[in-house]
Amino acid sequence: MSPLSQENLSSEAALGSRWREAFRPTPRVRRLFFRGLLTVAIFVGFFASLATLFGIAILQYAIAGLRVSSIVIVAAIGLTLIYGIRGFANFAYGDLMTLGAYIALLVNLNAALSIFWGALVSFLVLAVVGILLELLIFARLEGRGPVAPIVASVGVGLIIQNGIRAIGTTQQWLFQVPAIQEIPIVPGLGFHWIRDATTLVVGFAFMISVHVLLTYTNLGKAMRATADNLELAKATGIDTKRVTYAAWAVSCSFASTAGILLGLIGVIRPTMGFEVLLLVFAAVIVGGIGSPYGAVLGGLVIGFSQEMSVPVLVWLGRPDVIGLEHSTAYKVAIPFIVMIAVLIFRPWGIAGRPPAFARRVFLVEKLSEAIGRRIRFAPRTEGEEGG
């Protein structure tokens, strides 16, 4: 310690450079920082250009887009974790979200506790439910291809959804939350603390936590290894069984939180989760299956494409344009169109890595063949034409 302090005392400039040396960001941190800055800049630029082009009231749709995105992101991260590790599409995920919302509701109404405690209880209960599902059902279906677990998960979904209907009736419920007025910013644009702020903050917190889990913990690293290559992970001594159980717990507790957020912005009813299931699938596929970062990107694309299409649909619904009746009801179809486009042109997702021998999709293949024939003047050689 003493030489250091002596040196410090000897010169002010050395002290400055030493501190700067200690806190000089590594290239990785700098890259991350700039990437975050770029993302923020893109968002701000996007909103600003929207507001200047169409008036500030259009930001209402952008806020709705952010709201839907953050819910879809939380759900999609949970879904994609299990998709990556167990290799099948969990069709019960929407109903698990509903179950989470109902458990929170039960705590909220019966114990008269705040929704925060409801969310905590439901988070833990759903984690146990997830482990039980793997233990009782899905562990027995390992190695049977993707269809058998899909069928079983549909069965689980039917049981949850109709069990809720049979016990809790088809009545619609609301969480007991403090009544807060919307804060008007300008006419047509408002901000609601619970509806807008909570979803965003929770969504962001879950994103960060999953990043920390996957990057800095042994469990997360083991999860990524298992999702990447099961056999290799086993060979390196990872207890893949335990990793799978942990992934189920994380996935289902994410489902519960997504369900509660969904209940906060709307009503709680038995089909609420199933109705957004396809949206979540769309986010997972658009982002690239098995990649949580892709799920974030996919969730943003899906949420924004759904909500930002509303003004366009309203315009289409005007009698002097097309006069499409109930035009805003079609907003739920827009994400599927995005999904189909991604499935056709980039089946591995916008953030995913293409497989080594990716087969180009039919349309693209025919298109490139046609173009290739135009460009290449030399006649095609025999043997190129496959059977």
């Binding site: 079983a152 199933f274 769309a282």
Partner: protein
Amino acid sequence: MAIDTGILINVGFFVYVSIVFAILALGFNLQWGYSGLFNAGIAGFFLIGAYTAAFAITPRTPPSVGYPGHLGGFDLPLPVGAVLAMVASGAVAALVALPTVRLRADYLAIATLAFAEVLRIVAINLESITAGTIGIPGLSPPIVFNPPNGFLNAMVKLGVSAAILLGLFMTLHFIAESPWGRVLRAIRDDEEATMALGKNTFQYKLQVFAIGGALMGLAGWLFAVTINYVEPSGSFAPTVTFSVWVMVIVGGAGNLRGSIVGAFVIYGLEWLSVQLKDFVPNQFKDTVFYTRLMIVGILLIVLIIYRPEGILREKKRILR
């Protein structure tokens, strides 16, 4: 009449709706059981068939107070409606198959489920064409009796649907045992090996997806004709798709008789739950219905774990 025909009409209803589901199950069995294409958009093709039939068969209905009207009203004969329904569903199935059939089973399931949901949203909201949730009533029965006779009506419907099912069963049996059907099973068991033998598996999958879709369209036509009414929100919900899955899994995938048996068993469960409704106390009336769907879910899980080959297993074919 001396005997009470009410119960017979009721049983007749059970039989012909079961036959509708049996045709759906046959279509799905052709796609999944024989060729391994896991279609989750059964309800969508069913919807296209039903609406095409309704547009073609109903007499002209101009919009009136409380009724937005619907497309068509061509007043065509029933068989023409059937052909149109099959062509429309088959064509749409081929279009859907073009980009999706090469995908992995889970992608295919999600894409087709999304397709069916979009179709249902369109059918609910596009009121000037489909009459929205009000639905299209007034499809005439196969033979119009004068004076109206419920019993004879039910029996005619039963006869027509049974004849169609028998014809389909024989045709599909022939198709499944033909060399074409053999290629389908080969694709299901090992697609790469089939390709290596020089078969264009994409063509085969496209064809079988379109044929399965056409069968589902035929089921839609039969449904519209026997129920006399088409309505989008309940009849074509994803639950229909899931029910058909259970039917094929219960009966045994890759087995034509299995699909028919499965359809009768699973629809029988639903029919029984509807019959039971009259005998249970008021507060449990809805519970009966939901319990039935829970039983369907439990059946799905138990069967897929313990008896994935179904009640009637696929015939073992041994090379000689």
